[in-house]
Symmetry: C2
Subunit: 272 residues, 2 copies
Amino acid sequence: MNWDNIDTHAKNWVKEAGEKIRSSFDKTLDIRTKSNPNDLVTNIDQEIEQFFIKKVRETFPEHKILGEEGFGDKFESLDGIVWIIDPIDGTMNFVHQQRNFAISLGVYENGVGKIGMIYDVVHDELYHAMSGQGAYMNGEKLPVSEDRTVKEAIIALNATWVMENRRIDHNLLIPLAREVRGTRSYGSAALELVFVATGRLDAYISLRLAPWDVAGGAVIVEELGGKVTNMRGEKLDFLTQDTLLVARPGLHETILRDYLMNGQWEKNSDSE
Amino acid sequence: MNWDNIDTHAKNWVKEAGEKIRSSFDKTLDIRTKSNPNDLVTNIDQEIEQFFIKKVRETFPEHKILGEEGFGDKFESLDGIVWIIDPIDGTMNFVHQQRNFAISLGVYENGVGKIGMIYDVVHDELYHAMSGQGAYMNGEKLPVSEDRTVKEAIIALNATWVMENRRIDHNLLIPLAREVRGTRSYGSAALELVFVATGRLDAYISLRLAPWDVAGGAVIVEELGGKVTNMRGEKLDFLTQDTLLVARPGLHETILRDYLMNGQWEKNSDSE
């Protein structure tokens, strides 16, 4: 398998897609909702996903595609080479802010991440890793992640997750939110993952993410030594929605052990 | 009073201070803590405040200065012309991220905001308003704020404020956090204020802010028709720490009435 060739194509397509998104800022968005009123999708999300699908199918007809907007293939396993794509991660930010969103792309081989790209379109910052070859931001090599204490950590954590919810007993997360140096929430998992990779954040926790939210960023974080699991400390399968705990090495184990009962928590029986 | 002259000087000093901050990125920061381990201050914060004080005292010796780092004057009222300055709003972001911080500057006359400037140094975005003359971002006129429903709103709200705390019964804010379209937290009050001004956010709530966090942004928000009060709906005095509720017009009244009991809430008796 010529991964350099796949990587070169992927990078060109991501840049081209970014250009399409930037030029859409002057046009009127067609905004719809999906499963619930806050799950937005725009014509641009759909156009960008179809752009990637067309390119991948033309160039690598044997590869499969898992995309947020559902134009790709149906999956029961990640066998073979699978492109996992979120054309616009952070659609709500895209609609309301025209910033704080990113293109997320991961290329996996039999479930193992080989290429990860997150493109912060507005800032023209391309975060990129090929497994085993280091991680880069616009070609500049990123340093390896080091441990940090909870008291010195800034974690991304939406306010919703420290309120009663159906996924986890929120009382597990409250002590963590109190003891860290600060909490932030940016509304784009892809960006929150690369912020952990670059050390702007020390950890990122979410109670509900889909494979395309995480697949690209996970390759970048892991390439720098960071840890990406669900909140039970298990490897993600990239086929189902799951919780997420991403952190610097060391800090990941600390959070899992000292706040998340080594993953032995029960789902909250109280529903929203 | 020649406000155009004051404004021209203020703008030049803000730009010059931004240049000093940008050039500090290559130097080693001297980071200390103030009242608690998470209240960081750097040598750059202090240098920038002293730069402003020197400039104001040389050029406008009759003006007073209220600054975060405490090198300015002592205040019992806002009589006369007072410069209210936060040299780096979002110091934790400055230290950890080298982005998501801003210079905040407000010039007040007898307690009334006349000039507001927020300078997002890294993005070179200067938000600026003179009372009665419109608000601008890098010289481009910003549109007036319009109402938005709670269900369509994105509000900035730190996770800490929906957890039990000593300032307000957190059960007041939980329904709001559930019913909005989304919550965010950026860690810089100055930027969160201008994000409300520009419509990237629809509201911003904080339970503890100092005058210098708010004074510059308040002028910009109000110039565009947005509302800036504490969480009881009262005007800020810019002399003491207070809560903050900033929002689009209409949405401000809705939040105050439907979630904050028209300001008639009692302080939470449970302390942290």
